[in-house]
Symmetry: C2
Subunit: 362 residues, 2 copies
Amino acid sequence: MQHLIRKNILGLSPYIPGKPMEEVKREFGLKQVIKLASNENPLGPSPKAVVAVKRALKQINRYPDGSCFYLKNALAKKLRLKKENLIFGNGSDELIDIIIKTFTEEEEEIITADITFLEYSIISKVNNRKIITVPLKYFRYDLEAMKSKINKKTKLIFIANPNNPTGTYVNKYEVLDFLKDIPRHVLVVFDEAYDLFVDVEDFPNSVEWINKYNVIVLKTFSKAAGLAGLRIGYAITRPEFIRYLEKVRQPFNVNSLAQVAAQGAISDGKFLMKTRQLVLAGKQYLYAALERLGMVYVPTVANFILINTPLDSTAIFREMLRCGVIVRDMKEYGMKDFIRVTIGTQRENERFINVLRKVMRK
Amino acid sequence: MQHLIRKNILGLSPYIPGKPMEEVKREFGLKQVIKLASNENPLGPSPKAVVAVKRALKQINRYPDGSCFYLKNALAKKLRLKKENLIFGNGSDELIDIIIKTFTEEEEEIITADITFLEYSIISKVNNRKIITVPLKYFRYDLEAMKSKINKKTKLIFIANPNNPTGTYVNKYEVLDFLKDIPRHVLVVFDEAYDLFVDVEDFPNSVEWINKYNVIVLKTFSKAAGLAGLRIGYAITRPEFIRYLEKVRQPFNVNSLAQVAAQGAISDGKFLMKTRQLVLAGKQYLYAALERLGMVYVPTVANFILINTPLDSTAIFREMLRCGVIVRDMKEYGMKDFIRVTIGTQRENERFINVLRKVMRK
């Protein structure tokens, strides 16, 4: 059997899907489970997105608009870009695959951090590309060290900014210094899934650089817009790059409901601001509560917090699960003794703290 | 700029997206446009699917269940298979990509027909695989000729059954003869997107062979179930193959609403039967009407008919478009003087015939 499988696939770790919340409830006999594990919007989806989806339901027998015509026009206008600067994906995950397929040959190299969004590495390996991972420095992307790994074979660099799972960021001065030294045969992808939650002045406006440097910016409707379940993200770059990315994209990759939902969310500034305020206030509450518990965390500019656990993180994760609070054990990211918690509603944050306190006492 | 693009991508034809129906209406100043171009279900989506989607709307801020837990259980039960026999994709399109990535190295070869579903060839090229296309014989897959193209480098064979765009099929005797001679290093993929519309006794039940031969069967919810806009298809094969396909699949490839909609559609036998009856009756109507017009068509077991046009097919396509009837010009499939029309509602079929008559007279 194995002789039929491609060599690079044989060696991959199998993907172990998480159980649905409903299954967690059933397994542990719980009535109320809160999920603070996937950095979703705790307020639900954008209401304007939901209205738009309802209106489109009768047409789901029709194939999606392959060009995302209306959404692309609306988003280009909103961002003050040309529609030729944009391409949409079935989540940013798919755009990572499309970017790798468009720009890299099998023997070329891709650089990212060692502790970051897992898909850069997984999708590189699936496509039989070589991935070079550079250790974080104080939980942050080490741009100087990454620069030193560039050679003739380097083609792509993935930078999650803010970084998941650490919540840290690289600032505009660091990024500009970095970009100035990048050779012309290399492209830099900034994945800014969490940009709406950033509350610092020196965060880069990376879209400014798409014409000057080989820069691609990834954004998503999964987080702030609350559309994770519908799968839609997009990339911003030069039209010359978009043209080739479009050749690699499958014609109907973005479903119809995701398209109308995203259009709804774009116009839902009120919801986005409410979400941002909730996250910023929740962050202050959690910082103070964690300090009272004597726990060490990494200051974040995203909607989640990386927390150091004095005990084995898997034990804490499991104990919290039993109490109906799902957080993320960071062992799968290669970190020992860390959990990641999404900033939820005030009620969820309080329950998280109460359960954490209880579990730590045990 | 071009030095940054992967070589196999540079040569690809750019994907030219069709205009949305709304844009066609605007451009030609039409009030009513009927679309018989994409083999969609003219009755709309499965009503049970729509109900299921409405119920799930409030949860679209949550990531989809990566394992399609409930859908997989329901479908396995329905098909009397194990859930380990199934994998879901963002439409069958994505499964084609996953299959190619899982089983083929860059230097290996993929065989299909010359006039068939375009994505086998496009996705092979995007992944830098060599695609060998074998001419149809009397509009049908020529299995003997395909067999003769197998060599040591052959890894995959894609067979659309029924074939799109011809509507023809290969029968169970032919397929069994074919499978018996396939070497053990080769996998055969049967794409059965149109299986619900088949009305012949000797159509193969290919799922029977998944344990005996290296067979993968593709199915979709896009056609009979009326869920093209939501993007969901699935593959059936041995658990040992599924295990590797799962490693290549992105964790959240199938959106939440597609999952619940598909579950709804599975239980909507009434709708599926109504759709089938509509298509079979519409086929008889169209056959008779085309014969009255003196037009030659290829007998079909699918929900579309390939029609030979005595005049240039692009001229006819454009003229019909101006009259508000969208069909498919077959030039993009490499056929001269053919159009493909989806069997619609009786009203749509009549309008198609009326417009075709008018256009032919000109």
